[in-house]
Amino acid sequence: MSIETISLSGRKKEVSNKKMTFLESLYLVAIAKGLWITLGHLFTRKVTIKYPEQTRELSPVYRGQHMLMRDEEGRERCTACGLCALSCPAEAITMKSEERKPEEKHLYREEKYASIYEINMLRCIFCGLCEEACPKQAIYLTKSRVMVKSNTNREDFIYGKEKLVMPLDMAIRNTQMQTAN
């Protein structure tokens, strides 16, 4: 088979520039055919999802809102190593590290922790690379269906620790479940 006749998509068609007959040049037949096709579409099932009332089915590997995890004793796992920020293709993560004081041992698992940890939700593309990069299993993308709320203020899209860290009661529940097993 020569390269000219090959058709990868199987839909190759020769362009024909033959002169139209008078009947064809009135376009009536072609138009009637077209009208028939569109009429069929009038009665097909509509694909629209009426968003606030209906929500789209999520895929099994759906990645939603991030969460900074706590360990089984309720301490924050993040050690502010910065690997997530480094791996982030959208450069959405910034943080500031701090040394843990002796009296803060029950709050942070490692000797260094993130005093500020921010993700810019306008930049984040929910790729999940931060989750993959984290050596401490401290950041996860949850299956939360809550989308980032629209706003007119850019500052409100920068989510700080107060929005990202796992709530304490959730950590307590997790630990209880684990010990029960």
Binding site: S25, L26, G34, H41
Partner: protein, 346 residues
């Protein structure tokens, strides 16, 4: 008696005006809904149940937009453009017979603002003035894209008017009258003109699309090449007037199609209905039938719009001058021969 007729006509004109406006308003919604359905979508459904208040919301939005004037010396013409478009779109409805006679309180009320004996010529006259609205608007905008849009619109309208007129000639040869009232009355029961003049009807249909600047002949405002065509520079309610005029003229031209070729208010079996429920009842059904036909043509306009891509300019001109006009002339000749033969046989 004279006073009564003035009041009667006055009320009638107001009613027709209101109906035309209502139709134009809801055509905008219908257009969006039908476009959506053809594209497997749902369409606007948030304003009121099923989107029924959408036209009001659109109108409110247009009103609240900034009144923009381009840097032009022709401020008067700039305002006159949409006004002329609107006026001409509404003027045609004066000669349209909306139904047969109704007798109310013992008076025969003719459902036609005025049945002038050259109704058809009047319609054509007004239609050709319609191009001035677009031309003046495009000219006064002081914008080359607007001007090009206006030029296209006017050359297209003028070329298609010829074929349209010729299509009508063969119809008039058959009906032997220029009065729309008589043409409507002549199509009693099922004797619709489309059965006798199918080719004429097709030509007229195609030309109506061109006259109303609808797809596939919407070269005057093709967004891809001319931004918005003749109304690029218009904003707020002046823009609204242009859009409204387009929809109003779509309604009117659907009406004219229904009246000239699709039997106006006549429907099969109307004599039987009249003998059962009286002439008033039969005539009211006739009015409903007419509006059903109008709605069908409006739907057809939209159906075509979402089916056929826009013609290229040379295709448009070729279709107008090289196809439709010869076809219309041939139609006249054939009609003439048939009428002659029919006369000899009698």
């Amino acid at each position: 008696m004279d006073q009564a007729i003035i009041i009667e006509k006055g009320i009638f004109i107001v009613v027709i005006f209101a109906i035309t406006m209502l139709f134009a308003m809801y055509e905008t919604l219908a257009e969006r809904k039908i476009a959506a359905w053809f594209q497997d979508r749902i369409g606007p459904n948030r304003a009121g149940p099923g989107g029924i208040l959408q036209p009001l919301a659109d109108g409110l939005k247009l009103f609240s937009k900034e009144e923009f004037f381009p840097n032009t010396e022709n401020r008067f013409l700039f305002i006159a453009g949409p006004a002329i478009s609107m006026t001409t779109a509404l003027m045609t409805s004066a000669v349209i017979p909306w139904g047969d006679k109704l007798s109310i309180f013992g008076r025969d009320v003719v459902l036609q603002a005025t049945d002038i004996n050259i109704g058809m010529l009047y319609v054509f006259g007004v239609l050709s003035v319609g191009v001035y609205g677009i031309m003046i608007g495009g000219w006064a905008s002081n914008n080359k894209f607007s001007l090009m849009g206006a030029m296209r619109a006017s050359s297209q309208m003028i070329s298609y008017e010829v074929a349209m007129g010729l299509a009508i000639v063969s119809l008039v040869m058959m009906t032997e009258s220029l009065s729309l009232g008589e043409i409507a009355a002549g199509q009693h029961s099922w004797r619709w003109n489309v059965l006798y003049q199918p080719v004429g009807f097709l030509i007229f249909l195609v030309c109506s699309f061109a006259e109303t600047n609808r797809t596939p002949f919407d070269l005057a405002e093709c967004e891809a090449e001319l931004i918005g065509g003749y109304h690029t520079e218009y904003s707020s309610m002046k823009m609204g007037f242009y859009l409204f005029a387009e929809y109003a003229s779509m309604f009117i031209s659907s009406t004219i199609l229904a009246i000239l070729y699709f039997g106006a208010y006549n429907y099969p079996g109307m004599d039987w209905v009249e003998s059962v429920i009286g002439s008033n009842g039969a005539n009211i059904i006739g009015i409903i039938v007419l509006f059903a036909k109008i709605c069908f043509f409006i739907f057809f306009y939209m159906w075509v719009r979402w089916t056929i891509p826009r013609f290229r300019y040379d295709q448009l001109m070729k279709l107008g001058w090289k196809m439709l006009i010869p076809l219309a002339i041939a139609n006249i000749i054939v009609t003439g021969i048939i009428i002659l033969l029919a006369d000899q046989n009698l």
